[in-house]
């Protein structure tokens, strides 16, 4: 079972956060839920590790944060993507597609040889 829940690759977390926030602003817990949902539990985020990543992205100007009230009246910090963050997402996405395509190609090619 542990193999199914692979460790979140370093750097992939940021890509997932950006993708999540590209839809709407969200608080930390919401982001972690969304990532688990859309990855169908494949990426098991150690929930606390999300926050240093959010702070790093904020320090790099990719995200901005503001305190808002949630639907059930609680105070929460909402993160949204800055234009720089949108550019970063595009860049990361194309990088990822290129490298994953390359890896797939290698794997397919190796399979054909044996």
């Amino acid at each position: 079972m542990a193999h199914d829940q692979s460790e979140l690759l370093q750097g992939t977390l940021e890509l997932l956060v950006l993708k999540t926030l590209s839809l709407e602003p969200m608080h930390g817990w919401g982001i972690s839920q969304r990532i688990q949902q859309i990855s169908q539990g494949v990426f098991q985020v150690n929930q606390g590790s999300l926050y240093p990543a959010l702070q790093r992205m904020k320090s790099r100007g990719l995200l901005r944060a503001e305190w808002r009230t949630t639907e059930n009246g609680r105070r929460a910090r909402y993160y949204s993507m800055t234009p720089a963050g949108a550019r970063e997402l595009e860049h990361e996405r194309s990088q990822w597609q290129r490298s994953s395509a390359a890896v797939n190609w290698i794997l397919d090619w190796s399979g054909g040889a044996t």
Binding site: G28, W29, N46, Q47, G48, Y51, K58, G61, R77
Partner: protein, 897 residues
């Protein structure tokens, strides 16, 4: 702007750390609560169990909070304040190190930054005028004997006509004048006699009226004056209609034609400007006229080098066109030179001293390195003693970089505090220098800012940083090196190898001390002796006064007949004053000279013995001088009325030091000498007719020569000089009012300055020497103290490192003497090597300086200093060595086991 957002984020993390931390806590709490509720909802667990699971899923809250803090960036900054506090606490905990190291570094900063301030403001200043750096001085240096030729009236005329790369060529000189109020009161002032081009070169328009014009320079033009802003306010109460009024400067009433704006003091520190009368070119002979400073502004696009090349070409053309007889006269041994304008004050160009000052500055700053290396040895000792603390921090995850950073901050606390003390010393020193200039009758040039400049503070900061790096980083790198960390685990922690570096440092500093201390002691001693010398005559019986008669500019305006007629009318002034004073009760005698006894202009003379020349002080005295001061004759005779009657080539009298230094003993009377650099043409030989005892008897010149040549002058020839009145039965201060009362009745334009006891004048000179001696003593003491402290630290290590060995030896029955010898052997070896290298270095430096550095006393002084360093070093080593004796065998072995 992404980087702005990033910067804002970092600054928030830095300055609102508490708030940011609280927000992170709240955010994480929210997360855990939301997760708890989700688990309760999805899995139907109770709140307690759900919360436990939520916390597990979140991971370590503390750990992630720290990571968030680190992710904000600049987290290290907040650690700085802690390191600073730790540094301060360490200084208090180790007062010995703080005082010794701090004092040394403060003195080194003061010397380095003070040297930078003085050298830069006096020799490399920025001229605060529009494109001030393009104003240049043009001078002529003597290629054969050194020094300058200042009689440049002819050159001024030539350069004005021919130079293309330099425009607004002009000249000035400073003259003394009495400003005479309508009431008849006279006050001496300094006036710039300057060509009209000076105002163009400075590019400063007048506030009122006009500047000097070319027409004003004509010898027959009516006398005019331009005044400074301060004068306008102090003498004319800022009268807006001051232009057109007259003021009496010396003998003539001058019409005020302009007022210059506030702060304008070109050419040096002037507030009155009168035209320099330049005679028509055909009446100006080469090498004639008054002493002048020539200046100009580089033409647009022209460089220093172009100007230099052009003046050289002009000089060469003159030489080729000259009469062969002229060439023999030596006139063309003067080489024209284009120098920065500030050279009119520093006179560095003629001696090519510019690079010397830069070198001096580097050497002064090197003192900081030497001092800091010593302090570094001490700090290393302390750092290694703290190895347990370093080990704990390393175990807790501190990186080597973090620990080195912390030790650097601690060192910068020490060097920062020292810099504060050092800069305070510099500020006080600069003020004293400024006061010294003002009390000496001068005022600093307009480009000198006597306060602490931003440049000086920056320089001191750079030195502080350098100090902190040497004192903090080097020892820290060594103390956190692998070698130490290996040993750290042992129970006898704090024991470390002193590597070759430190051994080398000890040897180097002993060597430097042995090389540097002898000249410092020698010169400091000279200063001290000078400060405390007994002059050998009753200075308190003498009243001295400086006198100047207006129109000292009579010489050399070209019109010899007119000059001579005007001069004749003044011939009576000084003799009349002398005879009036002689007739006063209580006056034993009156004599005239150009300088205070012991002083005199430096000159080079040639003797009629082939190949013999010497540097001497030369002074003019009247016939009565030796009699009034009671100077004893060793050979020959005094000046006679027949000598005084000669119009030129009068005989001279020399002193004992002259005979010793210039002639190497032997017979002086009857020999002849001449001044080769006196003028363009070499003068005729002058005969020595007498030899006097060195006077003042106890006077030794700490810097220059004691050899003196006395030339004969007559009171009637002197337009300026010093007057000495010997009194009996009354004090100089009591007689001063009488002098002030009599002088104006003889001539209202006679200016008297510095009227007072001769004893006071010498006391002032001594005070300066005393201060210099004190400065040298402080620096010397710092070097010695630091050397001793460094050796002490080294020995403490050696003993600590060898505790086990000493214990075993003691257990095996070694006597205390054997143990002591073995402990001291290493220190002695290092000291001996250091002293040896120092001896060689001292002798080499002395040889390079041509023997001037040690003044022939090196053979005695250097070994004595070497011996002293050896003794100081051994004494410093003795304490730790004795501690070694007290090592108990059982204790040492147990500790190491």
């Amino acid at each position: 702007m992404r980087w702005i957002a990033a910067m804002r984020e970092r600054l928030r993390g830095l300055f609102f750390r508490e708030r940011e931390d609280a927000e992170t806590r709240e955010e994480m709490r929210f997360h855990v609560e939301m997760e708890t509720e989700r688990i309760m909802r999805d899995r139907g667990l109770d709140r307690r169990e759900a919360r436990r699971l939520a916390c597990v899923a979140f991971g370590g809250v503390e750990r992630y909070r720290d990571e968030v803090r680190d992710a904000r960036g600049w987290a290290w900054v907040s650690g700085l304040s802690l390191d600073f506090k730790l540094g301060l606490r360490n200084l208090i905990k180790h007062p010995g190190l703080a005082i010794v190291g701090g004092l040394g570094m403060a003195v080194a900063t003061a010397v380095g930054a003070g040297g930078h301030a003085v050298i830069n403001s006096y020799f490399y200043p920025k001229i605060p005028l529009h494109e001030g750096e393009r104003i240049v001085r043009i001078l002529k240096v003597d290629t054969r004997y050194g020094g300058e030729n200042s009689r440049l009236l002819h050159d001024l005329v030539v350069w004005r006509q021919e130079l293309r790369s330099v425009v607004d060529v002009g000249a000035f000189r400073s003259v003394q004048r009495n400003v005479i109020a309508p009431s008849g009161d006279a006050a001496p002032i300094t006036v710039a006699e300057m060509t009209a081009s000076g105002f163009r070169a400075a590019r400063v328009p007048p506030l009122l009226g006009r500047p000097l014009l070319l027409a004003d320079e004509h010898p027959d033009a009516p006398p005019v004056v331009v005044i400074g802003y301060d004068v306008w306010h102090s003498r004319f109460q800022g009268d807006p209609s001051v232009v057109g009024r007259t003021m009496r400067l010396g003998r003539a009433a001058h019409t005020i034609v302009g007022v210059m704006p506030e702060g304008f003091r070109f050419p040096v520190s002037h507030s009155y400007w009168v035209p320099l009368r330049v005679p028509p070119a055909e009446r100006v002979k080469p090498g004639s006229g008054p002493s002048l400073y020539v200046f100009g502004r580089l033409a647009p696009g022209a460089t220093d080098a172009a100007a230099q090349a052009e003046v050289a070409v002009i000089a060469e053309r003159q030489r080729l066109a000259a009469d062969p007889a002229d060439l023999e006269g030596g006139r063309f041994r003067f080489r024209p030179l284009v120098a920065p304008y500030t050279d009119v004050f520093s006179h560095a160009a003629a001696e090519n001293e510019g690079p010397v000052y830069r070198l001096m500055q580097i050497l002064l700053s090197l003192l900081m390195v030497v001092v800091c290396l010593n302090v570094a040895v001490l700090v290393y000792a302390r750092t290694v003693a703290r190895s347990a603390e370093i080990a704990v921090r390393t175990a807790l995850g501190a990186t080597r970089r973090r620990i080195v950073g912390q030790l650097f901050i601690e060192a910068s606390v020490l060097s920062g505090l020292s810099a504060l003390v050092g800069l305070t010393l510099v500020a006080i020193g600069l003020r004293l220098l400024d006061q010294g200039l003002v009390s000496g009758g001068g005022s600093p040039p307009f480009w000198i800012d006597s306060g602490l400049s931003a440049g000086t503070v920056l320089y001191a900061l750079a030195l502080t940083l350098l100090g902190a790096v040497i004192v903090g980083v080097f020892p820290a790198l060594r103390a956190t090196g692998t070698e130490l960390r290996m040993t750290m685990g042992s129970p006898g922690g704090g024991v470390a190898q002193l590597g070759r570096t430190w051994t080398f440092l000890i040897v180097a500093q002993v060597a430097i001390a042995v090389a540097v201390l002898p000249p410092a002691i020698l010169h400091g001693g000279d200063m001290l002796r000078f400060a405390n010398q007994e002059l050998g005559f009753a200075t308190e019986e003498f009243l001295s006064a400086q006198f100047v008669i207006d129109d000292i500019d009579l010489e050399g305006n070209g019109d010899a007949a007119a000059d001579s007629a005007r001069r004749d009318s003044l011939l009576v002034t000084v003799p009349a004053l002398v005879s009036r004073l002689e007739s006063q009760p209580g006056v034993v005698g009156v004599t005239i000279g150009t300088t205070v006894p012991g002083d005199g202009g430096l000159a080079r003379i040639e003797l009629d013995v082939p190949g013999r020349s010497a540097r001497v002080r030369s002074t003019n005295v009247d016939q009565e001088f030796f009699n009034v001061f009671g100077v004893r004759f060793l050979a020959g005779r005094s000046f006679s009325p027949a000598d005084a009657a000669l119009s030129e080539d009068r005989p001279v009298i020399v002193n004992r030091s002259f005979v010793d230094q210039a002639l190497g003993g032997g017979e002086a009377v009857g020999r002849r000498l001449r001044y080769p650099s006196d003028a363009d043409t070499v003068k005729r030989w002058i005969e020595i007719v007498g030899v006097v005892e060195d006077f003042p008897a106890g006077f030794e010149d700490p810097v220059e020569t004691d050899a003196r040549v006395y030339q004969l002058t007559r009171p009637a020839e002197r337009m300026s000089g010093m007057m000495f009145v010997r009194l009996r039965g009354q004090t100089p201060d009591g007689f001063a009012p009488t002098l002030h009362r009599i002088a104006p009745t003889v001539d209202p334009t006679l200016q008297l300055k510095s009227v007072g006891s001769l004893a006071t004048i010498y006391a002032q000179e001594r005070r300066t020497s005393g201060l210099l001696a004190l400065g040298i003593a402080v620096v010397t003491a710092s070097v010695l103290l630091l050397s001793a402290a460094g050796i002490h630290a080294l020995m403490s290590f050696t003993v600590n490192r060898r505790r086990r060995e000493i214990g075993i030896r003691a257990a095996l029955g070694a006597g205390s003497r054997q143990i002591l010898t073995s402990v001291l052997a290493r220190a002695t070896r290092q000291l001996a090597v250091g002293v040896g290298v120092g001896l060689v270095l001292a002798m080499a430096l002395d040889r390079i300086s041509g023997g001037e550095l040690l003044d022939g006393k090196g053979a005695l002084l250097v070994p004595v200093v070497g011996l002293c360093m050896l003794v100081v070093g051994l004494l410093a080593a003795a304490g730790p060595a004795r501690r070694g004796l007290r090592v108990q065998p059982t204790e040492a072995l147990r500790a190491e086991g």
